[in-house]
Amino acid sequence: MSCVLVVVETVHGKTTGPACELLGLARRLADQAGGTVAAALLGRGGVAEELISRGADKLYVAEHAALGEYHADAWVPVLARICRQAACDAVLICHNAVGADLAPRLAFRLGTAVATGCVDVALSAGRFVLTRPCYGDNAREVVSLKTAPAIATVRPGCYDVPASDASRSATVEQVQPECDAPAIRTRIVARKRDAADGMRLEDAKIIVAGGRGLNGAEGFRVLGKLAQALGGAVGASRVPCDLGWCPRSWQIGLTGRTVTPELYIAVGISGAGHHMAGCGSAKAIVAVNTDPEAAIFRDARYGVVGDYRRFIPAFISEVEKLRS
């Protein structure tokens, strides 16, 4: 085997935890097979040293203004070229909105296949074996791919961030991107980012999330107070987002964001597989639900059966007592 390539996405010019997790995974797979780790960095550089210290042997850097923020038509041709140049056997991409959009196109462009939303990537007898949730995470499939490179998007939180080793070295190759017509057909007219009044959900150590059981937008104000007392962030399952009780960007789950906090407090969330797929890697889950039969109690470390409208304010007082 020759090479495992990691596609690195940066946020505000910094590498993300999940990107580092993928470097650690790539390093392990490459060491197992006696191969190398390559990283593809698009847009602005500036994080090369960190990528090297986390395990990359070779960097492919494509710097161009058009690659700064993800734009499929601009990214796919550049990445396809890097994949061919690196002659990689596997491509690892973080499973988020960018990765989910990018990976299938890249697979078809390279004439290969992709497994999306993986929770495990392993090497078995020289083949990549990928485990992924399906049927709303009510089942898991283990797949292999007949074509190379094997492309996988991997859910955040499935692997540890590897220790940084400043003594590592790597070669850096600049790739000349072609970011003009006719490759770029789509035009991005505008981007509307939801006002981030707190931390990114992906970075939060504590998340308080609400579901259908909140029975309305008012519930999120209560959860907001608890999150504030705990120094955490607020998330949601899909139903409150669809009903407009909270911004869509709060959605955690199979079709929302994947989070990996230390503590996840799920309030009025039934615990369907498609939600748990986005928060199941939390270190500890607390479930607050009126229904003692709710599936969430199977995932939770601690459970409170009761009405959140009475429990959460009491819990906020307890937290404030501890803090003072």
Binding site: D101, P104, A107, Y135, N138, K146, R191, R193, G273, Y302
Partner: protein
């Protein structure tokens, strides 16, 4: 204007987790008996997106297309009852156990056969495999641009304008037709077929095409042409180790939980 909506038939995804079984021999998921087969919810929203476009462009013709066994005809009927104009069923024993690649290959061949298709719509992912691969694949194989996870789809002067969902907001992206657009739940609830439309749907044409109708060799499609091999399937086991925090009042429960979280150094 010609719109094709690709829809998939799946076991009703709203069933409880306990109703799923894995057939280890066949490496498939088999819901317990009595579970209904329905149109995958995101695909239903893709049909809704097409109908909203036709409300603005009444000349648009909407074809619903599904790859599947004979029973998949029911999801075409559902699409027709919602308001689509015609159906195409891609059915052939050679199509059995298609993966994302062979599904996209087959759909793309059928879209080419229809000819002059301006817009292909489908759900962001199907509720069975949750892969989200086929829409992108159809676009790549047809050589047309793809826009994923649409919250809103509009067409004006031959340009499709899509508001698409990001992790932390949305973006508006435009491209001249033809194009492929995948639809997300943010589009809103799909309409329920009226009795009148359901009656009319019975008279709408549904074509059935096989691999040879599409000029595809039997060994290029279905499981034979697939690039993904399912090695194993299993139901994830959950260890039930939840400690219920007791208390005669919410205040007692709150104190109990705070204490436990403090002891576990979680707060």
């Amino acid at each position: 204007m010609r719109i094709v909506v690709c829809v998939k038939q799946v076991p009703n995804p709203d069933i409880a987790a306990s109703q799923y079984r894995v057939d280890e021999q066949a490496r498939t998921v088999t819901p317990v008996a009595g579970v209904q087969w329905v149109m995958s919810p995101f695909d239903e929203q893709a049909v809704e997106a097409a109908l909203r476009i036709r409300e603005v462009h009444p000349a648009a013709k909407i074809t619903v297309m599904s790859l599947g066994p004979e029973r998949a005809r029911n999801v075409l009927k559902h699409g027709l009852a919602m308001g689509a104009d015609e159906g195409v069923l891609l059915t052939d024993t050679a199509f059995t156990d298609s993966d994302g690649y062979t599904t996209a290959l087959t759909l793309a061949a059928a879209i080419k056969k229809i000819g002059n298709v301006d817009l292909v719509l489908t759900g962001r992912q199907a509720a069975d495999w949750d892969s989200g691969v086929v829409g992108a694949g159809v676009g790549e194989l047809l050589g047309v641009p793809v826009i994923s996870c649409a919250k809103e789809v509009r067409i004006e002067d031959g340009v499709v304008r899509v508001e698409r969902v990001l992790d932390d907001g949305t973006e508006i992206i435009e491209v001249p037709l033809p194009a492929v657009v995948t639809v997300s739940n943010e589009l809103g609830a799909p309409r329920t077929p009226s009795l009148r439309e359901t009656m009319r749907a019975a008279r709408k044409p549904v074509a059935a095409w096989s691999a040879s109708d599409l000029g595809l060799a039997a060994d290029a499609v279905g499981a034979a042409g697939a690039r993904r091999v399912v090695e194993r399937m299993f139901i994830p086991v959950k260890q039930n180790r939840c400690e219920l925090v007791a208390g005669s009042s919410p205040e007692e429960q709150a104190a109990g939980l705070a204490l436990r979280l403090r002891e576990a150094k979680l707060i």
